[in-house]
């Protein structure tokens, strides 16, 4: 079985990569909801919130069915990347990303709503196009809130269990993240190791949440206007 260090690194990597993929997508969805207020808004919000309502294991089996070699998307993945997606750390990141999606999108929406749209209009009138305005005005002003969203998504991704163990498997060294390692150690009676891993989990989560709260309180003190 892999060492504790390996487990922690794997977990951090999986969660980090989940966030790297999740952030641009969540940002796009949040921007759409806040600035465009589309007709099908309710549908978008419902889809985004679904992972909150579904048990993670259900999400896991759904993904497994979709992406397994015999599943509807499995062959597509194989022809694109030449391999399976399930039972890899990529699947673990995917599972983490999906369960973290609702949290991240909600936090991003709040962060973007705090940006006065007139500042964006001012930027446009000064000669900056839509993308530049987004990069040089919207994001810097919303930065603290956005970072808070990333952190809370990261914490959620780190603790992901149900979907991960189903779609990525519990493969030590490859997909056995921190929560899975704790589960396994308990199953095999390795209590002392399990407790150590639990402590590390708690510390990681606490640090991230502390940072998150710091950022949120600074956002609330109204520095965006």
């Amino acid at each position: 079985m892999s060492s504790e260090g390996e487990v922690i690194l794997l977990s951090l990597r999986v969660a980090a990569l989940a966030m790297v993929g999740l952030v641009p997508i969540s940002l796009g969805i949040a921007w759409l909801l806040v600035r465009r207020n589309p007709r099908g808004r309710w549908l978008i919000e419902a889809l985004v919130s679904m992972p909150l309502a579904l048990p993670p294991v259900v999400i896991g089996f759904g993904l497994l069915w979709l992406f397994s070699p015999t599943g509807p998307l499995g062959e597509v993945i194989d022809s694109l990347f030449g391999g399976d997606l399930v039972f890899t750390w990529f699947a673990a990141s995917l599972a983490s990303a999906i369960v973290a999606l609702p949290l991240v999108v909600r936090t991003f929406v709040i962060a973007l709503e705090a940006v006065d749209p007139r500042l964006e209009l001012a930027s446009r009138s000064l000669g900056a196009g839509p993308w530049r305005t987004f990069a040089y005005v919207t994001i810097p002003i919303a930065a603290r809130g956005l970072l808070a969203g990333v952190l809370i998504g990261f914490v959620r991704a780190l603790s992901e269990f149900g979907a991960t163990i189903v779609v990525a498997g519990n493969i030590p060294g490859q997909t056995q993240t921190l929560p899975l390692a704790i589960f396994t150690r308990i199953q095999t009676g390795d209590d002392s190791v399990a407790i150590r891993l639990v402590v590390i989990s708690v510390v990681l989560a606490l640090v991230s949440l502390l940072l998150h709260n710091r950022l949120v309180s600074r956002l609330a003190s109204g520095r965006s206007r």
Binding site: G169, N170, D191
Partner: protein
């Protein structure tokens, strides 16, 4: 503490390159078929892990163990997960896969058996079965028979020893057999009926007596090759290796009883 994120960071070249690198890394290391995926009941995982390491040496292929509860593992296979070999703690999950046609019937092999034992905290007096259950008072922890096979085996053993009705009111059903062992360890129950392997793995509990195997159905751990596996040859060899002398000694060391053909 002033915490400003300079706009220059967001658009810095370094951040952009870092992101590109990460994405590239993701794409490169996706997939890969040069490994044997073995879904194993977590409770027997440690033993299988040792055996797999040895197997890897001679076959030069990476064995990826997938550890979970047997029922969940069976469900994964039914949904099409790319598993090559399965090893379950109990025949129930194996029967499921046989019924759904996901396992080659000819490849099913009984690998090991487990035994039941009565446990108590360190310092408790040893005894015999079933006398121990009635001579010592207090709660008796077993896995919930509805949730885990270990519980139904325990119930079966007590019934065949004609002691079930007498102790029924003192039974403490737990989520799984590990939780039953933990109940004894923490003092929630004075006695417990668990697998020998759990008793050996958990600290501060002692085996007070073994339960005669005739008093319950055999607790079989079967293995098989998954029908959809793309590596039938190698998978068969792995199953065979699980019955090798090396494997047998590892299993015995962990408290399992290898099955002879």
């Amino acid at each position: 503490m002033v915490f400003r994120i300079p706009a220059s960071f967001v658009r810095s070249r370094r951040l952009q390159f870092a992101l590109l690198f990460v994405v590239g890394l993701m794409l490169i290391s996706c997939g890969g078929n040069d490994r044997l995926v073995v879904s194993t009941a977590a409770s027997i995982g440690d033993a299988v892990s040792e055996i797999a390491v040895e197997f890897e040496k001679s076959e030069s292929i990476h064995v990826a163990l997938n550890l979970s509860g047997s029922n969940a593992l069976a469900s994964q296979v039914d949904v099409g997960a790319p598993v090559d070999v399965v090893l379950f703690a109990g025949s129930g999950p194996m029967n499921r896969l046989l019924a759904s046609g996901n396992v080659e019937p000819k490849s099913v092999e009984k690998i090991v058996e487990n035994r039941l034992a009565v446990i108590g905290r360190s310092g408790a007096e040893a005894g015999s079965f079933p006398e121990l259950l009635t001579s010592i008072g207090g709660k008796i922890a077993i896995a919930d028979p509805g949730l885990a096979p270990a519980g139904s085996y325990a119930e079966e053993a007590m019934r065949s020893a004609d002691v079930y009705e007498a102790v029924e009111s003192r039974l403490l059903p737990t989520l799984d057999v590990r939780a039953a062992a933990a109940a004894v360890q923490s003092g929630g129950a004075d006695l417990g009926i668990v697998y020998v392997t759990d008793a050996m793995a958990v600290d501060a509990v002692n085996i007070l007596t073994m339960i005669p195997p005739e008093s319950h159905s055999p607790i079989i751990y079967p293995a098989a090759v998954v029908a959809g596996s793309s590596q039938q040859e190698l998978s068969s060899r792995f199953v065979a290796f699980l019955r090798s002398d090396f494997a047998k000694s590892v299993f015995e060391r962990h408290g399992f009883v290898p099955v002879d053909r």
